[in-house]
Subunit: 483 residues, 2 copies
């Protein structure tokens, strides 16, 4: 940790978000026990508190996939180098990031094996074997897996050498069906981000330069973080027939002829937890949206003196067993109430219930909201209803906050100097006409660090001039400096 | 596939279980689409049908763990070679099986990284960092992960280069508590095998030679396969303070002094699916116990002629929507009823419902059990109840069958020639006095291929003589030729 003045810490060792966002991010992850650094550079341990959030995401997303008729399977971690090389753009995109196994069982391998950076190649080798006729289509499979990408610069959750994700891979007889699947996949992710993560974002199409290596086009969900950098939340790719041709996937159509099918793939990873932490956290630590919080409500008994303690503890326990939410009663006697308040704030628990002698006497409970600090006193009889309403309100409020933040930080720019100013001053995203030539995109990136994030799905064709070269442009694109 | 005479196949390409067990095993896995060979030698793809079974196992076991207060986390795949070397017995046990990454991001790594063959070393490096005081204990974490072991001879599910499993790792302040946890873990597994897999087995303690490298003792669940080879189903290890000392895990006790804690670890893997296939399958394919079957009931409409077809299909659909089980109605028109019967028998669906014109007219359904071939006709009104009862009965029957088989193939032997005869003729397991000296165990293994499978948990101390050396022995051990 960098040297910092004492007053810049809100809690012991936790720096203020506004003072050093990057340090705050690392601190809050380590102190809240979301994750820890592993002995291998760039690798992390997802600790139980962080993993519980990932499990909830998995459960929700997995159910969505199953409801849509997608089945899970498991493909191998190890990919022969020659498989990976079959699709030209794909291997060019991933080759700088590969981890390679060269020794197995004490012997040097005759063929080097790559740890999957993503599984198109291994999966499509199998698909080529499995798919024979139109009867085998559509084929729609998902896998939950770990992947390895050798990144030069790593950050907890955001960019780790190994990360966890799901990757869906579907094959269809028509482009129409595949395009629909690509769209459906991004819609599922938007729902997850908005309804569960409570993070608003912009979804749309990536530029040719920024799309997935080997795809025809890529949909993305782009979020704006509080440091005004953009974060790509997930992607859904329409692969057309590119991989089908490279991997010789063919099916006998009803017409009796062989055809190349159309494919899609899409993924959602533990990187999303980085967005969750950054988007909502504050000077006191994490702020978790209720639907993803491992503990939605924490009960803290205020213990003062032996006689009353028993009643306070009894009421805390009783309350814990009566609430239909994920609730934890922190009845430990070795920690003070003040320590517990800080501890559970750091862990981002959406709602705290305080039960003290006064509460016992008045048959009331004092509730403290993590998102806005509001404190109210509620009669015990109406508690379950009120808690549900407050949790829903917190969930909604968090989404509203990110929505407000996002839209107040999108700047429609008229010229390149405005564009530059926004990027230099880290003021957010720029909405600008772009001629869609990679040269301009490249120049803008070199000069401002900003990249095209996406063409928003609702962007309408307009007459305009490219912000960089002044040549005709038909759409305004979203630009930003990305994580 | 080997050359075999036509009459040895019961279905096209599926050899009889009794003719060539080993070939039958591979065939039934590939044809039922449980798994497929991957391009890398020794690796497999777990296909949706096989993975659905694994998902059910995961769901059941994961809930058991959560109910017992164990939390999930995720530790890295990549382990520095030096971590792995900290516990001497452990590294000796695993070093012949390691897959090693030597290249990352295009560069030769200065420190080679091992793909986890199991995660004690990486997890205990972290535990050493996390555990400081008695307040941090017990620490009880589980992870669901892939592991890699470079095996010379591989078999689908039973021994694959990469496999999936859960591994639990707990740390306790007392040996008593750790011993209880080791016991609890094997009890969970016994429940899974008996109640869900419907496979009876013997549980007990491994010999010094056969225990986990680095453990004080190992509990195992041993099953007998129809080819009379023993299969180790899972293990639970009491580690004592061995790893704590090797990894410098210490905690400050309530007494103010530093202590080494006591540890346990235990795992259950996709190898179990191999047992499931072997134990219950027959000449017609898989036979799945209802609690693990992805499809518990398949409805096959008997389609004969246009007019009646509609009613048959309607009734099939209606039935599908009314049954509270995992049900599939195979209404596809491109396949005949006979083909469907074979197909779903091959896939081991516990119960088939046939709906034909006669069934429509009489408001009845014809049920066919997969386990014993029984066929009965049941009025529609009593169908849901009857189906539930039949499924329960199938589950029970399968367990009974394995129980009967197991106990009729355990031979209490009086002398070594009897022992040898049993192993030579592949007649099952031997129960024999053994002096517990590794030399006798080693000699027996060399001469008969049989190893000690376990000392059954209920084995009573007796006065006897070692089956090999005739020296005094206090217990009869279970011996067998193992997978």
């Amino acid at each position: 940790m960098k040297e910092t003045k004492k007053q810049e810490f809100t809690k012991e060792y936790l720096i203020k978000k506004s003072v050093d966002f990057s340090q705050w991010y690392t601190d809050v992850i380590l102190k809240s026990e979301m994750a820890d650094y592993a002995p291998v550079k760039g690798c992390q341990v997802i600790m139980p508190y962080g993993y519980a959030i990932w499990e909830t995401i998995q459960k929700v997303l997995d159910q969505m996939l199953k409801n849509d008729g997608i089945e899970n399977a498991y493909f191998p971690l190890l990919i022969p180098q020659k498989s990976l090389q079959k699709e030209q753009e794909h291997i060019e995109g991933f080759s700088p990031e590969l981890a390679i196994v060269t020794i197995g069982g004490g012997e040097t391998l005759t063929e080097k094996l790559v740890l999957r950076p993503t599984s198109e190649t291994i999966i499509y080798e199998m698909y080529a074997k499995w798919i024979k006729s139109w009867r085998d289509l559509p084929l729609r499979i998902n896998q939950w897996a770990n992947v390895v990408r050798w990144e030069k610069r790593t950050r907890l959750f955001l960019r780790t050498t190994e990360f966890l994700w799901q990757e869906g891979h579907t094959v269809h007889s028509t482009d129409k069906e595949a395009l629909k699947e690509t769209q459906k996949a991004i819609e599922r992710y938007i729902k997850i981000y908005q309804e569960y993560f409570a993070i608003d974002g912009i979804w749309g199409k990536k530029s040719e330069q920024e799309k997935f290596p080997g795809a025809v086009h890529t949909f993305t969900y782009e979020m704006l973080m509080p440091d005004n950098k953009a974060l790509q939340g997930c992607t859904s790719h329409y692969l057309g027939q590119n991989f089908a041709k490279a991997f010789h996937i063919q099916f006998l159509g009803k017409d009796g002829a062989n055809h190349f099918p159309f494919q899609t793939c899409w993924g959602f990873s533990t990187r999303s937890l980085g967005a969750l932490i950054m988007a909502h956290g504050d000077d006191n630590g994490l702020v978790l949206p209720p639907l993803l919080a491992p503990v939605q409500v924490v009960i803290v008994p205020i213990l003062q003196g032996k006689n009353i303690d028993k009643k306070v503890l009894q009421m805390s326990e009783k309350l814990k067993n009566s609430l239909p939410v994920r609730v934890y009663a922190d009845t430990r006697e070795e920690y003070s109430s003040g320590w517990k308040f800080n501890h559970w704030e750091l862990k981002g628990v959406p709602l705290r219930i305080e039960i003290g002698p006064r509460e016992v006497q008045q048959k009331k409970a004092t509730l403290a909201r993590r998102d806005n600090g509001e404190k109210i006193t509620v009669p015990l009889t109406s508690l379950p209803n009120r808690i549900n309403k407050i949790l829903q309100d917190i969930q909604k409020n968090l989404l509203q906050q990110t929505r407000k933040y996002l839209y107040s930080h999108i700047h429609e720019v008229k010229n390149y100097s405005e564009f530059q100013e926004i990027m230099e001053q880290k003021r957010g995203l720029a909405k600008a006409f772009w001629c869609e030539h990679p040269q301009c995109e490249q120049k803008i990136k070199e000069e401002t660090k900003a990249t095209t994030r996406c063409l928003a799905h609702n962007a309408k064709p307009q007459k305009g001039k490219c912000v960089y070269c002044q040549k005709p442009a038909s759409h305004q694109w979203i630009f930003g400096i990305a994580y």
